[in-house]
Symmetry: C2
Subunit: 241 residues, 2 copies
């Protein structure tokens, strides 16, 4: 991990960041960006009954790839309290065009998910004195998700500014960083490759088969495959079709 | 715990509210206020390793007292990710004066706790189509806690306005209601009695003994006892001292 440290007798204390890491393409790239920015990395992965729990293994590999200081895997019973096709209620949509994917709120939307994730990340950040939280939201591919938009990130920042002992007492900010928010999927991949991401460990599919192979047909697979194609590259994950 | 699903169509749809219910004096009064305001009540209690888990039994009794439609008890591993004397790290402060209690952030502060609680309440509210979330924060007794202040509640409201499918799409608001925020503890008790609260079922102590008796010395007991005394009433809970 490349951590910026000043030479001299008193080394600068390391700056810490909490990274929301699902093990998908976006959050693994996010981890690479936070590492390059010189943060000591505290990754957090939530187990919330998502069908694609194969992502957890991807998250572990991504955490190892970027030598995170600590990787917390936290069980969160969000699937017990809300309904979403992503957590087992209803069908995952398949074979949709990019235009379809980008219109409306899909059934894979998990109510208030990013609010819950950022809240827990904020608790961790306050506890370890981190100065940043990285979240891999993307407003282009996921424009249908309310909690992937810049207005949501801005509102969470304003909340974080008054919600913790440190921020409310003027002792320092906890910055919500969403560096992927305006990037196209292909730009994200290009950035990740530049930063040393091995995308073969990442997992994006909403509906993998029992062996963990990607379906190639859900919204997430459709967007991912298209991005690799745009770059003239072969996606290193294995698809059923 | 079952996922909410509405059976059939309500001819007269009731307005619904999610109530953050700890089983303490404040949140039980909150439940009474929400009931009086005509909401169908969905109470939620979080198990987060608090030492005073005797509160859970109080929460169940309070929920029964006000005939809640559903009481969800959710395990939340917040004690695994943050440090607080309330969740077992360090000593609970004892025998402090009211002035001491109201200055600074006490060790019983749980990092970002109300942010996490409100986020999960928001997820539930979106899922069941509730139009309000009630939280029993109080800015007078707990002025040291950043997440009990009006600026925190206002910031969470602005977040809620953009964070969910319903609110972000203009289909309706989820209102964050904190009716106790400006009330003195004695005023809260007077209001509760007026609304039929039996305070013998409530539990406020941060450090109860093995039989569930209140210590009488922690900040929460000190403020509670003082309020009953101000009202010229006998607190119906049992104290060790």
């Amino acid at each position: 991990m490349a951590v910026e440290k000043e030479e001299g007798v008193n080394p600068m204390p390391e700056k810490k960041a909490v990274i929301l890491l699902s093990g998908g393409l976006d959050s693994t790239t996010l981890l690479a960006i936070a590492a390059k920015d010189g943060y000591e990395l505290y990754a957090v992965t939530f187990l919330y009954g998502q069908r694609h729990s194969v992502e957890i293994e991807s998250a572990k590999k991504a955490a190892a790839m970027f030598k995170v200081k600590k990787h917390s895997i936290i069980e969160l019973p969000i699937d017990k309290i809300v309904l979403s096709s992503l957590t087992g209620s209803g069908e995952i949509p398949m074979d949709r065009t990019e235009a379809d994917i980008k219109s409306g709120v899909p059934s894979t939307y998990v109510p208030a998910r990013n609010t819950v994730f950022l809240s827990l990340a904020l608790a961790i950040a306050e506890n370890i004195d981190a100065e940043a939280i990285f979240i891999g939201v993307n407003a282009l591919d996921y424009s249908g998700y309310p909690d992937c938009r810049p207005s949501f990130i801005d509102a969470f920042q304003r909340l974080a500014d008054v919600a913790t002992r440190r921020t409310a007492c003027g002792d320092g900010k906890i910055e919500i960083k969403a560096p992927l928010i305006d990037m196209k999927k292909s730009e994200i991949i290009r950035k990740g490759i530049e930063l040393g991401v091995d995308y073969s460990v990442t997992h994006s599919c909403y509906s993998p088969d029992e062996e963990g192979r990607s379906c190639g047909r859900c919204d997430s697979c459709v967007l991912r495959k298209k991005a690799f194609t745009e770059l003239g590259m072969v996606d290193p994950v294995t698809y059923v079709k």
